[in-house]
Symmetry: C2
Subunit: 190 residues, 2 copies
């Protein structure tokens, strides 16, 4: 998605060799017009799929997910993160380790909002090591719902999340695929 | 806002005498069409104000805020919640106590995304005791920005948040104002 790649080139900040900060338009400050365009693009890419619901994780997944939900006319459910050891018993849950924050969150979705037989599109802001998507896949499986697609705003192709998704046999669409940050410059898979 | 009041009557769940759960359309599962309508309504209500930026708090404020931002053509910044005692030094921060969760979060906004002289619209999903809005007001003051309006999706008029806002001298718009949950029925200020 050219609009997004241009924005990453212009406003993304590279830290070290693996971290890209996009907090000026995606995950702290948000550009609503860009999010609306992202939602329309995901809706276009998954137009041939029957989708009942979109699943994402708080907080950075919410903006791209709600605009995709608006374009596809389906509800959005965001998994809540919880660090406490005692969880309510009416939730689907999975552990998600964050490599950047070095903490494990339990992510949770209320049983009422994910039910057997539903066709699910997963949306997330980043694909790096794939931990968040893996957690959402586990939750969907527990609920006996079916993941019919995965939409990622920014993918880092050189981390192991992509391999995980390639093995799933579901359609994965990443709007920007970053191959390297060599010499402080973002390179995209063309 | 009739659309919202109708939805609260239909899908809101009352717990005890003070808690309203709207997790089926606002803060766990999200109805994107309703959020888009809410964004348009806030934009209409604050149309006469000069607004540079919208501020909210993760996670439940994000959906109403991004649609308001889309309608007003301004960026949205969401404050991040953090429980840890060590905070980065390049953030504005305030403590926010949650009566429902009985925890104190530090909320934080990066210095780069809130600067002196900006005209700010605060948006949040709920107004109850006003703790979150108080935190956002404190942060805005630290940054020497100016709050020109406060938009609340659901207000409980019988808790102390309303008094706090009445004393501020800024325009406050609540889309649904709940006066009581007596006899398990939601009453709105008409």
């Amino acid at each position: 998605m050219k609009l997004l790649e241009d924005r990453i080139r212009r406003d993304g900040r590279i830290l070290g060799t693996e971290v890209l900060k996009v907090d000026s338009f995606l995950n702290h400050q948000i550009d609503p017009e860009l999010m609306a365009a992202i939602g329309k693009e995901f809706a276009r890419l998954f137009a041939d799929k029957k989708i009942d619901k979109i699943l994402t994780v708080e907080s950075s997944g919410i903006a791209p997910a709600v605009f995709t939900g608006l374009s596809l006319h389906v509800p959005v459910v965001f998994a809540r993160k919880n660090k406490s050891l005692t969880l309510p018993d009416d939730v689907w849950t999975a552990d998600v380790y964050s490599f950047t924050k070095e903490i494990t969150n339990h992510i949770m979705i209320d049983h009422r909002f994910l039910v057997a037989g539903e066709s699910i599109l997963l949306i997330d802001d980043f694909l790096a090591n794939g931990q968040a998507i893996e957690g959402l896949l586990s939750i969907t499986q527990q609920a006996e719902a079916e993941v019919v697609g995965v939409g990622i705003v920014i993918e880092k192709t050189f981390q192991k999340g992509r391999q995980l998704l390639d093995g799933l046999g579901v359609e994965v669409e990443s709007l920007a695929r970053i191959t390297s940050f060599d010499e402080g410059k973002v390179s995209f898979l063309s």
